[in-house]
Symmetry: C2
Subunit: 160 residues, 2 copies
């Protein structure tokens, strides 16, 4: 049997809507990259654990409010235990690789923000309209997915 | 802190692109509902295990070709072990509930085809264009997500 040809069959990623409300999500790192992911995770009601020695003011503020839990220390492999979903967003490729490897061993999906191909999940470009979410994901650059998302958004909002 | 208000912030599902190539996926059931999910799972290269006493001709054919593995028996909770992602698509709500509970205990995402709210993941309405995938997911009916997907598709294909 020939291997499947993805060139005309969409992205190689399987788009799934994860019901994260009340479910444990680990975010390793608390910089600008982590921040971008945290916003939507909090919006869907995930129980977010952030593990990082330092954090942006926004992350620190959300922790202070009780919207997420911030463990102020370097991430350890055991932090992956219990997580449904993992975001590796530290500024160290080595640490991100170790987090992704720990997630892989547990069959837990992990986004590697520094090196998407070596994680087990990608974050699509998405936008929200009323109670719906539209997402675009591709095989090539995130910039291209974002451009398509924006084109769809414009097309959807054009007057008829 | 007030609970997050989802009415204007998209669906409560978090859209993720799962890289299932070579990763183990359990599909419980092998009827028409399972079939619809299997097509895309095979397209992205998942290692699919189907567990069901009976199967449609299409599923049986894919098993014969070696595109998936079909275990011809009722599903057991232990079948969830090792899976990255689970589709509960049998024709028995009790069996689907048991599969979903086993997945929940392992923190493994599970789509319940008979009762979406009691699973941990939803399948968005999606379509593929070239090497991209566009997905729509909503808070209400799958029919509405499909209608929006189709509208986007038409808008994207309209001549300028």
């Amino acid at each position: 049997m020939a291997p499947p040809d993805h060139t005309d069959s969409g992205s190689p990623a399987y788009l799934a809507g994860l019901l994260l409300r009340g479910r444990d999500v680990l975010v390793a790192g608390a910089g600008a990259v982590a921040e971008r992911r945290l916003e939507r995770l909090l919006e869907v009601g995930a129980n977010v654990r952030v593990v990082a020695p330092d954090a942006t003011a926004w992350v620190a503020g959300r922790a202070e409010e009780g919207a997420l839990v911030w463990h102020r220390r370097p991430v350890a492999e055991s932090d992956v235990d219990g997580a449904w979903y993992v975001i590796a967003a530290t500024d160290s490729p080595e640490v991100n690789a170790a987090v992704a490897a720990a997630a892989e061993a547990r069959h837990t999906f992990c986004v590697r923000c520094d090196d998407a191909r070596h994680g087990s999940a990608w974050t699509p470009a998405s936008y929200n309209v009323a109670d719906m979410t539209v997402a675009v994901i591709g095989n090539r650059s995130p910039q291209r997915s974002k451009a398509v998302r924006d084109a769809i958004h414009r097309a959807m909002e054009e007057p008829r």
